[in-house]
Symmetry: C2
Subunit: 254 residues, 2 copies
């Protein structure tokens, strides 16, 4: 009998942002695959097995999960945030496409979650309130010129930009290079939001103008949101400024 | 005493996708403002008042909520999906910016939710698995040439495109015009996902190649996802095809 793989979004990290659908799917699985720190967030259940793997072993992890399911297992694969956004759902689809034909009979389900940019945006107002894009700054899986081309296209067309995977030990210069590229297209006062570990105990949120944006503000747990020329900063007494992008557009077409 | 406004994301419609954080915030409010059909999803609580308004009265609704909070009320404003994505959070920020100075002292919180494109993507695989954008097709609040410019920029730079507000009785031609624009930049076989009312009893999900995409497949409750030239269609026996965008990019830079 063929089994099932459910790819589950854990949300940004606070258990209050885990949907009931995701909780139920976690409970139902016989074995849970995931990056160690994500597995640690999953409540224990008697008899359920866990298979931790390293952050960069997405395809291996997906392959193991599909192999288990092909033998009849009821398997969960967990992702931080939403599994469909720079995360495990695409890796599972990729492994399935290139795997044995029998894997196409596996019952594959994806359970969405709150992705990082939504949680970060909520903390500061509504920077994603109008057209926006989500872009991974990692050049492990695409050439850097593609990243640059997309940054230029998005900024010049007026999209707010959410940057995922902004920086890592192996990729130390890309975020500053991205800010440099964006400065050619956006006003110096454009707000940049650094949202780190939002919803967790070590949360840190900072807002800075693009002219002063510094890559060292970010780490691997950070999502960076760069406004458009329309994005507003509303100062408030005794509160942090509100950052939002109006629903209507008045910028000239460039 | 100054009050509080919490803008709450209800998710796509299934109560299983409402986060515990959102449930708790709904319970805590003394009065809930929202578009009628969204209010109908909120579980009743003794003593809690409701203020329904029409879909297009976002700024009026935001103004009323802030007025109540300025008088000390504990007010919730509900949105379908995520309040920060083409929804009420930006409207509340906008009303606050242009309202009385005292409103800047109101305790404003945003509770994120699963936005439509994430729920639709999850149903078919991982079409948002790599760089993507979210674009409102409504030209009520921005000129149509801005929409066209953004469609062209996004498609030619290789972003997958999620279209919000694709069609309405007052905007019948825009979606077909958008498909026409995109056909100039993307291969005919590019998959287009029409996800309607996902998670609700009247859910309907269809996938069609861009060459055959027809605006009449969509209505106001639909989110449309248009792949990039990288997006894959994986046929499966006895199952719907999987649609996903690989994590790595191999397209030429244009």
């Amino acid at each position: 009998m063929i089994g099932k793989v459910t790819v589950i979004g854990l949300g940004p990290g606070n258990v209050n942002q885990l949907t009931p659908e995701a909780s139920d799917a976690l409970q139902a699985a016989d074995v849970v695959f995931g990056y160690g720190p994500y597995l640690d967030r999953v409540p224990a259940r008697a008899g359920q097995r866990r298979r931790a793997s390293d952050n960069r072993q997405e395809i291996d992890r997906a392959t193991q999960a599909l192999t288990d399911a092909a033998e009849g297992g009821s398997v969960a694969v967990v992702s931080g945030g939403d599994p469909g956004v720079f995360a495990m759902a695409a890796a599972v689809c990729e492994a399935l496409e290139h795997g044995p034909a029998a894997w196409r009979e596996i019952d594959l389900a994806i359970v969405p979650g709150i992705t990082s940019m939504l949680a970060v945006a909520a903390r500061v107002g509504a920077p994603l309130g109008h057209d926006f894009c989500a872009l991974s700054l990692s050049d492990n899986l695409k050439p850097w010129p593609v990243v640059e081309r997309r940054l230029q296209a998005a900024a010049s067309a007026g999209f707010v930009i959410a940057l995922y995977n902004p920086i890592s030990r192996a990729r130390p210069w890309q975020l500053d290079r991205a800010f440099e590229t964006l400065r050619a297209h956006l006003p110096p006062a454009t707000p940049v939001v650094f949202g780190r570990a939002v919803g967790r105990s070590d949360e840190r949120v900072r807002v800075t103008p693009l002219s002063a944006a510094d890559g060292s503000e970010a780490d691997m747990a950070t999502c960076v949101i760069v406004g458009s020329s329309e994005t507003r900063v509303v100062e408030r007494p005794n509160r942090t400024a509100l950052i939002y992008t109006p629903r209507s557009n008045s910028a000239p077409i460039t």
